[in-house]
């Protein structure tokens, strides 16, 4: 089948899965409804009721890694089509991409030396 049909099928599977999940939800609510009681809906934290909200400026300590991820992700986007035609094109392809990868790798090494690759 051509790609439009394929994506149509995928859309169908997506809707089908969502439908399956909704039917499970319907089944569960047919069995019974959730009873609202005091303190039942407070997030469970080991026995002490905590009402402080958890949505704060979270200090993710891996932001050095996350910045580096951006560059490598862009690189991977370019590598997919390159990999498909690689064998056809030959050594030139290896050299071209090799230069690109080497530059990015140098970036990785630089980040490492500057202390980006650690728990901040």
């Amino acid at each position: 089948m051509d790609s439009l049909e394929q994506y149509g099928l995928l859309l169908g599977i997506l809707i089908g899965t969502i439908g399956f999940v909704l039917s499970l939800f319907a089944l569960a609510s047919a069995i019974g409804k959730t009873r609202k009681e005091s303190a039942k809906d407070v997030p469970a934290t080991a026995g002490q009721l905590t009402r402080d909200p958890a949505w704060v400026r979270y200090h993710a300590r891996y932001y050095g890694y996350a910045l580096l991820f951006l560059s490598f992700d862009m690189e991977m986007a370019y590598m997919y089509p390159w990999a498909v035609v690689y064998k056809q094109v030959g050594v030139v392809a290896l050299l071209d991409m090799g230069v690109f990868l080497a530059i990015l790798f140098l970036g990785l090494l630089y980040g490492w030396s500057q202390g980006a690759l650690r728990r901040q």
């Binding site: 005091s38 303190a39 469970a44 026995g47 009402r51 200090h59 300590r61």
Partner: protein, 660 residues
Amino acid sequence: MISGARLGKLSGLRRLVATAISRDLTTFVIPGPDIARAHGLDLAAAGLQIVASPRHASVLLVVGDIPLALHDAATVIYAQMVRPRALFILGTEIFSSLPDADIMSRLSQDGLIDGVQQLRTAFAEGAFRLDVADFDAPALQIRIEYTCSMHPEIALNEPGSCPKCGMTLIIRETQASTGRAHTKQKNVDVSVDEQMATGNEHNAHHHMSDAAKVEFTCPMHPEVVQDAPGSCPRCGMNLEPRETKTEHTHDHSQMNHDAAVQYTCPMHPEVVQDGPGSCPRCGMNLEPREITESETNEHSGMDHDSTDHSDMDHGDMAFMSMIDVTKNLPRSTDGLPMEWTEAPFGPFFPGLPGGLMLTLTLDGDTVADSKTQPLFENKELLPQVSPDIVNFIQQITRFGPLSPVAFQLLACQALENAAGLEISANVASARIGALEQERIANHLGWLALFAQQTGFNWLQRRAASLQLKFCLADMQQIATLAADIQSLIKRLGKTPLLKSRTVGIGKLASDSNLRGPVARASGVANDVRSTDKNYIALGFEAVSQTQGDAYARLQVRLAEIIHSLKLIQVSGAIERPTPADTGEISATGEASVETPRGMAHLELTLQKGQVIAARLETPSTYHLDLIKPLTEQQALADALVAIGSLDLSPWEVQSREIQT
């Protein structure tokens, strides 16, 4: 019939569901699976599956004595469970704030199996009922009040306007029983201009109302300080109250606790940090500067809760840059201002010893601060003693649910010391056999808890099953189990990642106040057994390591297991200590015993054969205080490993006011 059933008629699909639930009994254990194992209960063999969160559990299993301080927590856990839920009590615990136990049974493996049978029938027939009542308790109550974000001391019962500044009052939830106040966020639309960081109430504000000296300052212009309320001469906003620097309680502010000096950039005075470094704007080295009162605004509601505050009408306010917005937020070690949250990690946290009341202040996933609370309010562990000897021994044993034999031995030895009785060498070495057997069982239990904490499934199952078999083993069985234990220890030595999870974590310097394996791992050779003649006769050697980190403690405990096995073999007999007949004497006596956690010391006074006074000192009291320095600025996982490596028993901790 179970009281926590769901509403509905038990027919058709619901009957199928009830049967499925009765075969899939997910359990939350109070106070913890480690206590259950110490009582010799094999929960998996009985058909119960232990889960980590009350939301996944249908059965609340209560094992043994629960002190009054934990009753509220048990109520909260029960309230947070999903229906259908059942309360299964082993022993004779009576809760005033929980419903009647659905199933009660004896505290033994047989009792457990019987109880599980009854539980299955109860669920299969009672998971759905036609009449269901809500569960409520005082510990779960909240009280809604209305407060002004700028003037948190105002608390009215109806919405309206603040009498001081005229702003609309916002809702605040207060836990009715304890009076802790928290702010409920009203709307989530935050714009940078409205970030005031003053509307939040938490414990610190209570200190504010208790403080004698209060000043008024403008949140936008901290250099404006007055003694009376009024409005800021710069922007016209109402001044808000703030404690003076001397009465600050830094419960959740900066990690650098010697906050007398701060570092600032000469070019950019708004850059203020607690530690030296370089200015993020221009790169110059920061210079130290004394804090003046106008600059320490860390009090005004800093914090961790919330990015949003009331919808205030601030048409006249100037634009607030990110510097102003984040000026009062606590700074982390890398200089970024982030908000901190307080999360409870106790008392019933899987992976930590059951009963440990711990609250951690998290900065992302780093621990910025920690708070622990002892279980017993009294300054002395034994404010009153039971005069009868047998009851007294039982009272002492209750302090060590994880190591009852050691405490029993302690009481017996103290009584014998008071009466001046000599114990024969045979009896002494049989007692040593029992104590060492318990030590091995304890260390295996600690290994199982450590494995649960670090997600090491094989070790958890193996150590737990060995512990359960070891508790009840006689001499022959011990000989066979010894080989299993040896192979476990050998395999542990070859486990990848174990070293990286424990080396360098929880490092403690040598300190003479440390006890037990924690002390021996730091090179402090504190061991009661090295001066005991009976032990020396059996060929006792103390173990020690020097690094003082979690790995060293693990090694010390493993080595102790091996040595204890040898001691049991040499002693040749196991017999639990029983009190000798002391007669009608009046004397004082004392004894020290090396419990699996360290030295415990008991002094008692007898009068005419009855105990009239006693004083008990236990190892975990000092170790509880070590949690704070050990977890400072550690990643959460490392902090939990460090706390676990201390092998605390919260049941034997006395309040910290009296230290000996």
